[in-house]
């Protein structure tokens, strides 16, 4: 069956098997090499293996919940959306969430996802207590920071290349409502946006939408969204009666692939200008429901089709703090000059993180998406170079086109990751189209 990541590029003919339980899985996993796949929300080729792709979505049982600590034990295929449906009405919310709720627990661990609160709380791994994983020797192993610590740390952010994640225990955070107190601050350019981030370190959530086609003195103009979970005292009386009830949004659908010309520099530029003006005029604080705040794109099912049949590629890098301003400036200049605007350009401050193979480090991260075509692929090669020149690195969960030598230059941890894979036989057992491309 033809499979792809969320970006629909590349498309690979894959043999798929869908285990229903652990015995099934162990039997199927005797065929090698293989990669586990969750809900297919990584953008590129991280979850594709032509010989065997294990569809983990049926391994989706929630196993235990501790009402005192908020610790949930769940199988790897459980969706974050199901976790929210189940536990938000009981006063719990994911401690870290990526920009879509349609991801699995296994996927969140393999990518060590981050959210809008990374500067304060770190990545998903900060709330992860233990993992059970099927390793190359065919054994199921429990690992944590104290037990099989090497395996635990390599698996976090290890893109499924240390084994098949079977189940995990991680903590949710207590919340008083399903509402977010959102404050929108507009920034006339990149320098202003960075100043706002630096002054907002105490905000739980912060993220900026950035107009990547603006140039000159308004290069990097942005809308910075700050957010806090609304406490009961923040709610008006009509919401106080049912603080976890938020309006159910009607799901929109993209029924067709948009034609290739629908997204061009003029439509994107117009969209960005209108969006900025609308946001600018709405500056201030308002109550927003959790779904709109964290997952605006989830309301449009199959939104990946707006990029047309050829799909799209994401670019996400992080630049260390000392070089952030210069690096971001250079990236934005290159994008603006190329006229290859992206609808969804997101800027975010990361806090410190020290891990074996996870993406985040202290600094600023920029995420963009482009329709797949020659010009945007060339532009992304340029962005790679700028990232390297500023000491930055790349997010593998987004990547579909990075080159192996670029990755190795960006991150000294890559060679250690390769060695670990070799010495544990993981290299010949677990592989994806991405790990082949990047020689991981």
């Amino acid at each position: 069956m033809k499979l792809s990541g969320w970006g629909r590029f590349p498309v690979v003919e894959c043999h798929i098997a869908a285990p229903r339980n652990q015995d099934d899985l162990i039997r199927l996993a005797q065929s090698r090499p293989l990669i586990a796949r969750g809900n297919g929300r990584s953008y590129g080729d991280s979850s594709l293996n032509s010989q065997l792709t294990l569809d983990m979505r049926h391994m989706n049982h929630m196993l235990a919940f501790d009402n005192e600590t908020g610790q949930l034990t769940a199988e790897a295929g459980v969706l974050l959306s199901d976790i929210i449906d189940t536990f938000l009405p009981r006063g719990w919310f994911p401690a870290v969430t990526p920009g879509t709720k349609f991801v699995t627990v296994g996927g969140m661990i393999a990518s060590d996802v981050h959210g809008k609160n990374h500067h304060k709380d770190g990545s998903f791994g900060s709330f992860l207590d233990w993992i059970e994983i099927l390793t190359a020797d065919g054994e199921v192993q429990r690992c944590s920071r104290n037990q099989n610590a090497d395996l635990f740390e390599w698996t976090l952010g290890g893109m499924g290349l240390t084994g098949v994640i079977l189940k995990a225990a991680f903590r949710l955070r207590p919340v008083e409502s399903g509402w977010i107190r959102q404050t929108t601050v507009s920034a006339a350019n990149l320098a202003e946006a960075i100043d706002i981030f630096e002054a907002s370190g105490s905000s739980t959530y912060s993220v900026a939408w950035i107009d990547c086609l603006s140039s000159g003195p308004s290069l990097g103009r942005s809308l910075v969204y700050l957010g806090e979970h609304a406490a009961l005292t923040d709610l008006p009386p009509e919401k106080l009666k049912a603080p976890f009830e938020t309006p159910r949004k009607r799901k929109l659908n993209v029924p067709l692939d948009a034609p290739g010309f629908a997204l061009n520099r003029w439509t994107v530029k117009a969209f960005n200008a209108v969006y900025y003006k609308a946001g600018h005029s709405k500056s201030g604080t308002q109550l927003v429901d959790w779904d709109t705040y964290f997952y605006p794109l989830d309301a449009i099912l199959d939104w990946n089709r707006i990029y047309g049949r050829k799909g799209f590629a994401q670019f996400q890098c992080v630049i260390p703090l000392a070089q952030s301003k210069a690096g971001m400036q250079a990236l934005l200049k290159a994008i603006s000059a190329a006229g290859q605007g992206s609808f969804l350009s997101v800027l975010k401050r990361f806090g410190p993180q020290d891990s074996r193979f996870s993406f985040p480090m202290e600094g600023y991260t920029l995420a963009l998406d482009f329709p797949v075509n020659r010009r945007s692929l060339d532009l992304m090669d340029k962005l790679d170079k700028i990232t390297l020149a500023h000491g930055g690195r790349f997010y593998l969960a987004k990547d579909a086109r990075l080159k192996a030598d670029t990755l190795a230059l960006s991150d000294t941890r890559v060679s250690q990751f390769r060695e670990m894979r070799k010495s544990t036989q993981a290299a010949e057992t677990f592989s994806s189209a991405q790990s082949d491309r990047l020689a991981l």
Partner: protein, 249 residues
Amino acid sequence: MTDTSKQKTALILGGRSDIGRAIAHRFAADGYTVALAARNADSLETDKADIALRYNVPVSLHELDVLDTAKMPQFVDGLGMLPDVVVSVVGLLGDQAENETDLEKATRVMRSNYEGPALLLGIFANLFEQRGSGTLVGVSSVAGDRGRAANYVYGSAKAGFTAFLSGLRNRLAGKGVHVVTIKPGFVRTQMTEGMKLPAPLTAAPEEVAEATLKAVRKKQSTVYTRPVWLLIMFIIRHLPEPIFKKMKA
């Protein structure tokens, strides 16, 4: 949790299958206490934990082999309660070519799709009739609407099951007991994995579950889970035999 004595109970026969699991989830989400019956029921502990955790309802597991008809009364007694709804999702597709030559395999398909589920629902029918309430749901198949070369051993057993449900419905009308026949067309399950199924005709197990709960609520009699199947099967049933023979469907 609400007062459990007032909670309705749904018993799912064949609770391990993808459709059975989806139905258990849907009924639990609606507030039903759920009882799952299957072979090796112990291995459904993860399902039990999962459903209890997600929907905050009690879940119980019950050992059941639908081919062991002698033990059926014992199974029903052992439940310790009489459910409000019993859904049979029991079934076995088998391999048509094997079923044509291997008597043992064909017998197994016939008994799993007809004899087992029909006899067991028959026991519940009598108890429901005495009580004067309850709903019986049989998940049958469009394959029972007309025997086709591709799967007539399975199809004929489903046809028997469909006729049994129809008769039961007829008998129990006016006695407070309702009988629902669900005919899913293609469903994306473990049973059909690897088959090339046309997407517009293929339902997810959750759709079958939704249709089942709706049929129980609205007291529908026969439900095709995707309406297009009603049309398809109408045509297939009415094709004249000389044409149908040439199609080798």
